[in-house]
């Protein structure tokens, strides 16, 4: 079980306009761990997630299950690391929920039969079975968030990178989502402002500020340290 899922060392990233987003990140995430990435707006949380499957490639190395991300293994890495975006409208772009969830497996060039099996399994897992033919436009935000999650679960990703999974959800949808995330055995990297969710799900918390890791440890140690949190904009 104690395989290293993600290993980041000396990661720097500047946005094209010169803003420094990541300023020397070192991080090791064990397989099966659920890690909460917290930090103020602009701390670099989302940028860090975009590095986990090679969408952004800053200076430094990111290894996924031991192999450093490079051009030749991008598609393999994206199969291992499923990235769920903050706004489900960015993630769900197909005419129907089914097509959206099937998009990843079809890109993996699976046979349509296998695609169908995987899609129905993923939709059942997130509790959206029966809505295959719906357009994403007709889903509630909670359903959209779960559909977005299904689009990566369907690829059998071993690492889930989730950007603000509970953002914009009403309390019940948030509870349901948290229960779902708790049940999933995959390694999870969750970037969020929702400290309640972190406390509930994540055994480990990483606090970012201005592109640097300022604290990394047991969830409750960090979440109960109010001085630390306030110092870094939380």
């Amino acid at each position: 079980m104690n395989e290293v899922a993600v290993e980041i060392s000396g990661l720097h990233y500047d946005y094209p306009d010169g803003t420094v987003a990541l300023n020397g990140i070192d991080l090791e995430i064990q397989s099966g761990e659920k890690v909460g990435i917290i930090g103020a707006n602009g701390a670099g949380k989302s940028t860090l997630l975009l590095h986990l499957n090679g969408i952004l490639r800053g200076d430094g190395t990111v290894r996924v299950f031991g192999s450093p991300i490079n051009k030749s293994n991008l598609s393999a890495v994206r199969r291992e690391v499923g990235l769920v975006f903050q706004n489900p409208d960015d993630q769900l772009f197909c005419p129907t929920v089914y097509d959206d969830v099937a998009f990843g497996p079809r890109n993996m060039r699976l046979a349509e039969q296998q695609v169908a099996e995987r899609v129905s399994r993923a939709l059942r897992l997130v509790g959206l079975d029966g809505l295959e033919r719906k357009s994403a436009f007709h889903l509630s935000i909670g359903q959209k968030k779960r559909a977005a999650l299904a689009t990566v679960l369907v690829m059998d990703a071993r690492v889930l990178a989730l950007d603000e999974p509970s953002g914009n959800l009403d309390p019940r949808a948030r509870r349901e989502l948290m229960a779902l995330l708790k049940d999933l055995a995959e390694t999870q990297v969750i970037a969020t402002h929702d400290l309640g969710l972190v406390a509930d799900i994540c055994s480990r918390v990483v606090l970012l500020d201005r592109g640097k890791v300022v604290a990394d440890g047991q969830g409750h140690d960090i979440l109960e340290n109010r001085v630390l949190l306030e110092q870094h904009g939380l």
Partner: protein, 252 residues
């Protein structure tokens, strides 16, 4: 939109979308090729549409909305024809208002434009209303339309509503801050709104692309396979072909 998720499927909805598309084109081409004075044939064509409409049962608004959008354009172009067109052998009608008269061949030409446009619009409305949009896209792909075009149409369909909602939210936001849109200088606000919408769409496009990359997109759009065309579908196509060709030949 409301019909998109309808689970109960009366007959025309169940026909394969590719077959529906082919029969639509066939019917329209035959109708357009009919000389304008074969009134019986046009009666037959519209009887077919009426039959379809009875089974598909579009709401009055779905059916008439597009008709009233298209009609003014046709009228604008065609309404002068009867006045300007000269009969070769005389036989126009004097309207009794000064020297205003309409020519017989001009009237026929006007009728020609009107009836064919109306047939085209109504057939398309009935097709769209009886076919969920994802099926239309799949049908276009199945009929070997360029995949890029099909993909673009899919994106437009998916995001048009998202953008409309965004524009609506923005309008509410400026309205709640006392914007009345009464003075010329306030036009600048609308300009900025459009600019902002454009920027947001542009950025969304970037994010959607990233989300596609994250799921292994490599520039080739994967589409699902096509269901096979059944006997009932061929039956539908054959019926349409026989009826329309029959009417057309009878009108020769």
């Amino acid at each position: 939109m409301s019909k998109l998720d309808q689970p109960v499927l009366p007959f025309p909805r169940r026909v394969d979308a590719r077959i529906k598309l082919i029969s639509l084109v066939l019917a329209v081409v035959i109708c357009v090729s009919t000389p304008p004075d074969r009134f019986m044939a046009f009666g037959g064509y519209f009887a077919y549409l009426l039959l379809l409409a009875i089974v598909v049962r579009p709401s009055a608004r779905t059916l008439l909305g597009p008709v009233f959008v298209v009609l003014p354009f046709i009228m604008l172009c065609a309404v002068f024809i009867p006045f300007l067109h000269q009969d070769a052998s005389g036989g126009g009608y004097n309207l009794g208002i000064g020297r205003l008269s309409v020519s017989r061949s001009g009237l026929l030409l006007f009728w020609n434009v009107l009836v064919k446009a109306l047939f085209g619009v109504c057939s398309i409305v009935l097709f769209v209303d009886s076919t969920p949009f994802p099926d239309v896209l799949r049908a276009l792909d199945g009929l070997r339309f360029p995949r890029l075009t099909v993909m673009l149409a899919g994106f437009v369909h998916r995001y048009a509503f998202v953008f409309a909602e965004e524009a609506l939210r923005m309008k509410r936001a400026i309205d709640s801050r006392g914007y009345r849109g009464r003075w010329l200088w306030q036009a600048a606000v609308v300009g900025r709104m459009i600019g902002t919408l454009f920027l947001r769409s542009y950025e969304r496009g970037e994010r959607v692309y990233l989300a596609m990359l994250a799921r292994g997109f490599d520039g080739r759009m994967p589409f699902s396979g096509q269901a096979s065309v059944r006997a009932i579908d061929y039956g539908f196509l054959l019926t349409v072909a026989v009826v329309f060709l029959g009417l057309r030949v009878a009108a020769l």
